[in-house]
Symmetry: D2
Subunit: 367 residues, 4 copies
């Protein structure tokens, strides 16, 4: 058991802080023979990299990954893969302000209350930098999935920033990569740009909703009860910093539906596989994948570091005011898109391995 | 690793199906010396018991718990506690209809696709009966918490049935136990009664939202990243059957807030403990409890067994129609309230033990 | 994590004490579709059953197993299998002697020092009765192995009782089941009978060595480092009560060998599989099975309950004398043979599943 | 679950190969506030370092450890500690010989059969270099133990090389650090020197027995059944490469003892703590520490790389001869002493945390 690990058979342990020499992911249980090199992982890290546009933090880190173990002649060996990212943009600065004061919305106060020691130079393990390690691990997971379930495609995008939601009528896959927001609705992207410009100038921030969809996931992944694939997806997404809610399929809206509305009816598809009239279930029944799209959504709270004066206290218990200066994301949710994809990849690979372990390649057949 | 287990140090493994001889929970890691007997656990099971009013399934099971191990002279010994509940109301009936057809919204099809074998007499592990084992384990957890954190109080209630939400202005703790819905708003309870009567008569069902609050949880429980207390709460709640969304504090609504709105400001309370101006965070910062109320919400989808004709397929892949007769809950969310409380209790106890294990009794002091 | 669980994917959690209502094993992760019924498990339990001859405890328990879950129409469903054995021979007796005094060699004193509470009526979890649950789980594991690696044969026997070892020249498989000692050497069996008769009459006891061999285990099971199959075998055997030493292949004797003597040379066999000139390695290289026989040995200490006066102390710290009356085994090692076999079966099945999970059905080919 | 991890709450995951850029240990669950720096860990690594005398491999690696995370201002923060050791002495050499042939006694053949891919440049994860990561983690564990159980002292030494055992009559603590063999018997050390000189010249190697003793371990650590402290010690030691047998207290010799001989009688010591007349149990009863010395022994097989021609096969299944040249240890057991100590430290710390987690600071009192 490790509180910094995730996954059962494909097991990712992340380590490192924002202001130490390096951070990374120790990935155990990867199948052998997966073709991988640093460039293939770097591809995914570059999508998460800060400083790519004015809507994300201006901290500039190359986030260059090094593979320290577990790969030989361009293939995984089946032993632990160490993925390390060195921290390079640690500006020396004056920490006297935040050393003693707890920043509201941050984990400063709880770290202190739990551990009695806190690296005041940054968010420690709660920094968004920790998610770089997840993206690296997710890059490896994506390659491993290819051999096991070649049809799987994972795509994340934003569906809401602040009060502005996308219009599903305008949903266009192609748009996702063509704006700084991973937004599938070009009109929403324009609205968001204006909205975020205003927020950024006023030193404020805002929350967001990210949706991640996995297509082509085979039926039969997951297990009843605690090993449900939705249990693991919920844990995976909730473990991302700043996430406050997770939904599968209809999510919280399931409360408002009747049984008649909600039940996805079943038919035989032309390819001899079952198809469903709808996907309220988000691709999961009883914790096990149906073969439909896996659909998960999560809400990211607004960045807590804002240029607004807030009331707080010091370590010695005195009242104080604080303004969190620094290079922060006006909407940290934007950079959560590749992170959510990475977590989806890790969960799917893990459940592919779990399923194969317990049951093998055969499954119950229909027809 | 077990896909039917939950928790790190206080580890609950549930077992059993709705139509086998018994089901139960194997609970490992409970501290020794916790006063417990069957009546104390039965108290919580009775709150979940079906057949108590016309809004829950008319299946009549005494759900009588037996303690088979781990308790000596009225106290836990520190070794595994086996909590067994025998199934007594297994009416023999004609299963020919559901033996071959997959009920939409149920796990019938995914069980078949995963395992190639399925106990067609009921939901197997996906049956709501499995949650009785959780409630039993939660009853033990509540007693163990008393010695470790005597101020903890856990209370669940419903905030929404179908489209009808409670009005927080009318929130009244006392009301929760005085209607069949665990509803803190008496007016909503009346609305819900009417609404459910209609649904029940038409053979339909509906979803719900349950909120569970834990007061008096000490600051410092949890850990960053994957061991976040919100990660474990999300997994705990999502693992309950029919749950499709989980929220901490503001939950999905956090997306709509600005950083200025969302950041709970910090002050010193009169008792020398920090207090917050608000609790958007739901009592958790960076995965660690703040000492404020822990607030978690989850959505339960409508019961899938309804008296409506639905399209489906058979095991041999032929199109078919199905009506799921039986003794079902029009709103299975109602009985999820004690289950959500039980999961909250298990998570809190587990994190109390984890914290004590890694760090001991001392914590960082403020002031 | 559970301190009463064993295994990774095939995960066995045992529960129950010698003097409670029942004990058993909660078995998770078993593949679905394994043919099983109570009689098939009872077969293995009957081999461990006490009271079968004068060399084992005269406690008479039918040790009848009940399957409470996870099996439907004679096959495992892939969900937890609950195997329960009720305790029926709990004679009421006067516990005043052992209630306050710690029996030397027993866990009485350490249970008390750890938990501050102790079921003084028996050994609690340290009772040899706990091993019945392992044998039940092992019976299930044996059936599951058949589908995955049909050539596997597991056989345990004794090689030493007190100072008397078997002579390998006289090793005869057929003899193992034909004496009360699982002894492959008929002459040693006669010696042991005389020796134990003497010990029993004098109220003394003695230790033993058990060897368990698994033939037909496929090459490639295990993993380097902590997931070594020998690591898991060592843990499995050392977890059996009264075991004080575990050996793989040459075991402790490996210290006395030179590299030249110890290295098993490799050749190609007629069936296209590698064969080795010898098996000093006990079938394992680098933690991974070679395809040769897996050979594990363990030493069981003498039964601590003897009819000899021993010095001890009471809970209040006063000096005292104690004679442990009761129905005890003069050589508890005899009944450890089926237990060691069961643990071997569990480890092999677990590693078959782990291997299939990470790597699938294919392995590196030679030739 | 990770096959490269060890421990429950103090959880060590090692990664890296002998011929990659680096190896290390990801250590999770360390208590916060433990004073640590690289020099403190280096101290222990230097004891294991190769090339210190003619009896260990002449490979020259500084084995310099870097702390990449989890430490701030000289103290652990309670988050993962990454300990990295770069590989610097990777001589480029001609691997054509060992690329195709399997070295007898090595894991070459099993790695190939398991993974279908193998880093032929060295032993991969089975290399003795992996143990450097354990020693680093053990160095951290030792510091953490100081705060929790300040009286603990861990000491390892050799008791046998080849056929030559130490004479316990000549056991002298002070000698252990004064010869290249960690030998407490000066006369045996002289014998061993001569013996190993001969072996080294003839290109042969030999096995050894290492004993590790922990003094001052509090009573009450461990748990019955699978969480026994001896179970974890057995797994810890057996997981070290080349180990073939593990013993607690009397170990395999327990088989030869009678119950009368074996039972350690109990008395009250002058300090109000129980003392035992002897320590056949090796400090553990029923899986729980008694407060006496913890005594564990393990046998290390002879180094498999020898300058003797051995028969083997190639990947394509052809018969071949092989001589393993290289810079190898004539007795790899010598360098296993600090490794055994490190594993002992990790197990003790882990069980200190586990005990505190489940039970807290109080224990059952005697007197």
């Amino acid at each position: 058991m490790s509180l910094n690990s995730f996954g059962h058979l494909f097991r990712v342990t992340t380590w490192g802080e924002s202001h130490g020499p390096a951070l990374g992911a120790t990935v155990d249980g990867c199948p052998p023979g997966v073709p991988i090199d640093e460039a293939m992982i770097q591809h995914w890290l570059d999508r998460r990299k800060p400083g790519q546009n004015k809507y994300t933090t201006q901290r500039r880190e190359p986030d260059a990954v090094k593979i320290l173990s577990g790969v030989f002649e361009g293939q995984t060996t089946g032993t632990p893969v160490q993925l390390m990212i060195e921290n390079t943009d640690q500006r020396s600065k004056d920490y006297s302000e935040i050393m003693e004061k707890f920043r509201p919305g941050h984990a400063d106060i709880t770290y202190w209350q739990k551990y009695g020691i806190r690296d005041y130079r940054g968010g420690g393990r709660s920094s968004a930098r920790e998610t770089a390690a997840r993206v690296a691990a997710g890059g490896l997971a994506r390659e491993a999935i290819k051999a096991l379930a070649p049809g799987v495609e994972i795509k994340g995008y934003m569906t809401q920033i602040g009060p502005y939601k996308i219009d599903n009528e305008r949903f266009d896959d192609v748009q996702i990569g063509q704006n700084p927001f991973w937004c599938p609705d070009p009109q929403a992207a324009t609205e968001w740009a204006d909205y975020l410009d205003g927020l950024r100038k006023s030193g404020n921030s805002v929350g967001a909703v990210v949706e991640v969809v996995a297509k082509g996931v085979p039926a039969g992944l997951g297990a009843p009860v605690y090993g449900k694939i939705d249990t693991d997806l919920a844990a995976a997404m909730m473990s991302i910093n700043a996430v406050k809610g997770v939904e599968i399929g209809e999510g919280m809206n399931a409360a408002a539906l009747t049984g008649e509305d909600n039940a996805d009816e079943i038919f035989m598809g032309n390819d001899g596989q079952p198809v469903f009239s709808s996907n309220h279930a988000g691709g999961i029944l009883g914790g096990i994948s149906t073969g439909q799209d896996l659909v998960v959504r999560f809400a990211v709270k607004p960045t807590s570091s804002i240029l607004k004066t807030r009331q707080t206290i010091t370590k010695s218990g005195e009242a104080a005011e604080i303004i969190t200066k620094g290079r922060h994301d006006p909407c940290v949710g934007i950079r959560a898109v590749p992170v959510g994809e990475a977590m989806m990849a890790c969960v799917i690979l893990d459940h592919l391995l779990l399923h194969r372990g317990q049951i093998g390649e055969n499954r119950g057949r229909i027809g």
